[in-house]
Amino acid sequence: MTLELSRLRKAYGQFDFGPVDLTVEDDVLAVLGPSGSGKTTLLPLIAGITSPDSGSIQLDGRELVGLPLEDRHVGMVFQEGALFPHMTARKNIEYAATASERVDELATLLELEDVLDRKPPTLSGGERQRVALARTLATDPDVLLLDEPLSSLDAPIRKRLRDELHSLFESLESPILYVTHDQRTATSLGDRIALVRDGDLEQVGSPSTVLTRPTSRFVARFTGNENLFEGTVTDRTEDGATVLLGDIQFETTASDIHTSTVTVCIHPSRVEIEAPYVADGDRTANTVTETVARWLNEGSEYRIDIEIEAGSITLTANVRPPTFERLALENGSEVQVLIPKESIHLIPERE
């Protein structure tokens, strides 16, 4: 199946969504964006809940715009599940199912056997989302749309259901669109990520491309990259560009940089911290020795703010707890900062 959106547009008062061009084949596209970005506009348009002002939505060449919801064969899992509160879980799935065997099959797949006879208000958040998913899958939809199904769940359940969705998505052969505001969910579930900003697609690409090679400051910031600095390109060779950050020169592998002013973008998880004067081994990296200004325990990692250039630049690094403890870091600790050439990404200034 191929879902193809062309020049899709929808205006809501002041707000303009689109024009959007997008093709999703049998993979998972995670639609990521802040609240108010318009990411929630997309799914209702495809499902047929709202009509676009112009443009087309084609599914294997069949035009969906103009068709009523019920004739689109597009399955949608709503944010809070949208289960029918007066029907049991079983009745909810049966209502949608084309064959009654399908109900038990899906109940087994999604581990719902024990809750089939309960009504939605008595189910936990995770169970509700599983029933909603089963109900949608029961119609064997051509396209699967999911609207932040995990956002209201507690962390451990969210993690577990996310893993289950991951396996499920791999077994489905249809275009899947997954809307979320959570960068982790988008990264782990999406084969590709589409970043939405002010009603437009800002960048579409694989998770690692979007994370390490953002095309704008907005994308970088929204995917957790806090290290964004204004820099000047001083030299360009075949192997990359040299960039000046304050008084310090950094070597990068960036090519195709045609402006001299750039945004230097270094993901905190790619900044490495070592004790001072420890040799770097065989890797070539940019190295500076500076002091720790601040640290924050963030659970599975520590966040270290390092002041460079007498405090005019604050570089953030994520450090694993064992490293943090081994280096016995505290405020004022002197550390060696290693930034591999290929970890420095340059975003050209927009004209």
């Binding site: 499902a47 047929g48 809940i49 009523p68 919801l69 019920e70 004739d71 689109r72 064969h73 597009v74 399955g75 949608m76 709503f78 949208a82 029918f84 509160p85 007066h86 209502y95 949608a96 109900r135 949608t136 029961a138 119609t139």
Partner: protein, 226 residues
């Protein structure tokens, strides 16, 4: 309320309840209020659904028109209805010619009651429909179910209690209608009119039996419907 039941000896009341005028008015009231409620529900429900699911200037204007009978004084309602359906109006003349007079007849009573009772169905059912999350309707339709199936299996069951409350209120309002009925259809006498007549002609004591019966019928309807 309690004073109403205590003010006259019970056997006295029971005896007077058998009086033909009491029985006649009770029959007229029950019949007319039932017809009015059914008519109001049949027309009111689709209108309420439309009002609940549509936005815009037209919706607002229709809503004002629907609510109008709620705030209009009953005697003014009577005058409005007489002007439109009265014997000297074109509609009224046509109806009389067809042997179906719209005033001083059961039709007149139903007309007056429907006019004042309909807003209750529309307003309450509208609120009930609005309380059904529209997402549930979208969910049902995205599962391949038509609008009609969705309405029958999702919307109506969920809006049910609210709609029933509206229908009950409409019945209560219909069976109690006085002002417009007095002007449009003094005959056949409904119970509220009979109370008035009994009070004027025979005094307060004689109005009690009909009043008690009316309260009993209305409360029974409230209990049965809820």
């Amino acid at each position: 309320m309690i004073s109403l039941f205590l003010s006259v000896p019970a056997e006295d009341i029971l005896a007077r309840m058998n009086h033909p005028t009491v029985i006649d008015s009770a029959t007229t009231s029950l019949l007319s209020a039932s017809i009015s409620t059914v008519v109001a529900t049949l027309f009111g429900l689709p209108l309420a659904y439309w009002l609940a699911r549509t936005d815009g200037a037209v919706t607002k204007i229709v809503l004002v028109v629907v609510v109008l009978p709620l705030v209009l004084p009953p005697t003014v309602v009577g005058i409005v209805l007489l002007t439109v359906f009265g014997p000297s109006s074109p509609l009224g003349e046509a109806a009389i010619a067809a042997g179906f007079p719209l005033t001083r007849s059961l039709a007149g009573v139903v007309l007056a009651q429907t006019f004042v009772a309909s807003p209750f169905v529309v307003v309450t059912a509208k609120a009930a429909f609005e309380s059904v999350d529209q997402t549930l309707e979208y969910a049902s339709r995205s599962l391949g179910k038509s609008r009609w199936t969705t309405a029958r299996h999702v919307t109506l069951p969920l809006a049910g209690p609210g709609i029933l409350a509206g229908v009950t209120l409409a019945f209560a309002r219909a069976i109690g209608e006085f002002g417009a009925t007095m002007m449009l259809a003094y005959y056949p006498r409904t119970m509220p009119v009979q109370i008035w007549v009994a009070f004027i002609e025979l005094g307060l004591d004689n109005a009690y039996p009909v009043a008690i019966l009316l309260v009993l019928i209305a409360s029974t309807a409230l209990v049965v419907l809820n």
